[in-house]
């Protein structure tokens, strides 16, 4: 009796999965939205030519076709599929936004002309100017990498010394408290004649911007380590080296990471300003240079790249923090 009921249920289940497989509705709507954007772009003439229109239409149609296909197969993609389903509404909004954006810029010309560009105008920039953009990314990457890492290494080491040694703290803390609050960009005029090259001046600025918050927070982290941890380690036979490397530093790491996040944001800010003032290449230089030529499409195209690069680095730091501070779960929430 019971087994029969179970069988009946099982039968119904298999039937439903075979014939009425769920369709990802948002995927279908998104495909329709992207198709709409493609039609708007292709069907009406541009008020002025922007270039790369056909490429953009092709990309929209291709994207729409992929979304339409995914609407029936997304379930099979596992984790990636779940991510797509989560962002379904965003994909619809993106298609609608492309259509609206095309309409008010290229098709109706409502937005003032040199300042606003349709999406295919930005695409055109990537297609035409990709070599120069890559060179700029490479220049900025070199400046940021050297500046940021030398800044945080010096800041971290200095912070540990300030937090650990009373002598260091006596001489160092007043200086750090005095200089720390000054925005790194205020140093720009001085650094450009203090250093022989603008590259070195920019390096100094980025290192300063990222190093100071790391130094301050590392020092306060080392300072606020539970004294009982030191007592425990000392009764178990630890020497000073052990106390610094295996007790003070790991215990201070949550503070250090707050400093790293602050330093990361400050380094972006001062990096772009420094590049605008006296660099040959670089993201900040590119923005400045293209604005001077009223090439606003290039400016927007570069802003999108900068957004992706900066948020990517922030995300990377989050991943590293979660790796190193996994032990914090349940201890501190932030």
């Amino acid at each position: 009796m019971t087994s029969a009921a179970v069988d009946k249920d099982a039968g119904r289940k298999s039937v439903s999965s075979a014939f009425a497989r769920p369709v990802w509705k948002h995927g279908l709507y998104a495909a329709a939205a992207w198709l709409l954007a493609a039609i708007v772009t292709a069907a009406f003439p541009d008020v002025v030519p922007w270039g790369s229109r056909d490429v953009f239409v092709g990309l929209l149609l291709g994207g729409g076709a992929v979304l339409a296909g995914l609407a029936f197969s997304v379930e099979k993609l596992g984790g990636l599929g779940r991510g797509l389903i989560h962002y379904g509404p965003w994909l619809i909004a993106l298609g609608l936004w492309f259509a609206l954006w095309e309409l008010i810029t290229a098709k109706l010309g409502w937005m003032p002309k040199p300042f606003f560009s349709p999406p295919h105008g930005l695409l055109h920039v990537y297609i035409v100017d990709w070599q120069r953009i890559l060179i700029c990314i490479a220049y900025t990457a070199r400046l940021w990498t050297i500046g940021f890492f030398s800044g945080i290494i010096i800041g971290f080491t200095g912070g540990v010394a300030l937090g650990w040694s009373k002598t260091f703290a006596y001489w160092g803390m007043p200086v750090l408290r005095l200089i720390g609050p000054v925005p790194a960009s205020a140093w720009i005029p001085a650094t450009f004649f203090l250093f022989p090259t603008t590259f070195q001046a920019s390096l100094f600025l980025v290192a300063l911007a990222s190093g100071i918050p790391v130094a301050i927070l590392t020092a306060s982290g080392v300072n606020s380590v539970n004294r009982a941890f030191y007592d425990v380690a000392r009764t178990l036979g630890a020497n000073n080296r052990y106390l610094v490397l295996r007790v003070a530093i790991p215990a201070a790491l949550p503070h250090v990471f707050i400093g790293l996040f602050m330093g990361l944001y400050y380094s972006f800010a001062v990096l772009v300003v420094a590049e605008m003032l006296g660099a040959k290449y670089g993201l900040g230089w590119y923005l400045q240079f293209q604005t001077a030529y009223s090439a606003y499409a290039n400016v927007y195209a570069m802003l999108i790249i900068m957004a992706l690069l900066c948020s990517g680095l922030v995300k990377l730091l989050f991943v590293i923090r979660d790796r190193l501070l996994g032990w914090q779960k349940g201890v501190v929430q932030w």
């Binding site: 539970n226 007592d231 425990v232 178990l236 036979g237 501070l325």
Partner: protein, 262 residues
Amino acid sequence: MVATTLRAASANAAGLAIDFQTVSHQYDLDGQPLPVLRQIDLNVGPGEFIALLGPSGCGKSTLLRLAAGLERPTTGDVLEDGTSIASPDPSRVLVFQDPTLFPWRTVRDNVAIGPEARGVLAGSQKRIDDALRLVKLEAFASAFPHQLSGGMAQRAALARALVNDPHLLLLDEPLGRLDSLTRLTMQEEILSLWRHAGYTVILVTHDVEEALLLSQRVIILSERPARIKSEVVVDLPYPRRRDDPRIVAQRQTILEFLGFSA
């Protein structure tokens, strides 16, 4: 079985004698001297288990810190087997009221701190495992402290002390924060570990009954600055029962010393 292997690995793990010689100690509180100990004379024999009882904040913990070598007495001297104690040493370990496990280390890595700090980690792997088994935490070796209950954390702290083969175990109210059932189990564990290993134990506690159940001698301290008010020898065989009339009688005596006449 595990306890015997831990002991066998350290045949020399006998207790050491601690001698407080007219020890007075004071702290500096905002420029004002704060006397905490006054003229303490106390001999603890090798392998003896003594308990320190007294009002809270009277300076009991300071006595343990002096014996551990974390501080030097202002006047007087503390001797181990006849030589003055100048600095901390893993042969004298202190277990605090809070487990003070390092939250960034797993239970096993916490237990490994002593061997690691002394540079003998590679040769101590088996001892670390033995110590974990001794406090029944082998299943939680890779857990982080925040995943442990209060009793488990305190057992881990005990394992972290015992792995160093102490000759003197200083217990600063190690059971103070535990619920009463966990407390009873831990009291039995501390007792059986001491009876197997033979180290000297100085236990600071608030609990008169705990002192009487565990120790051979109860030292009663006065209000701060603490001096020794009295001492009660508990000459009873283990295991002891809390309803033993002799324990009940001594409990009464001690409470009277502490100022409760009920």
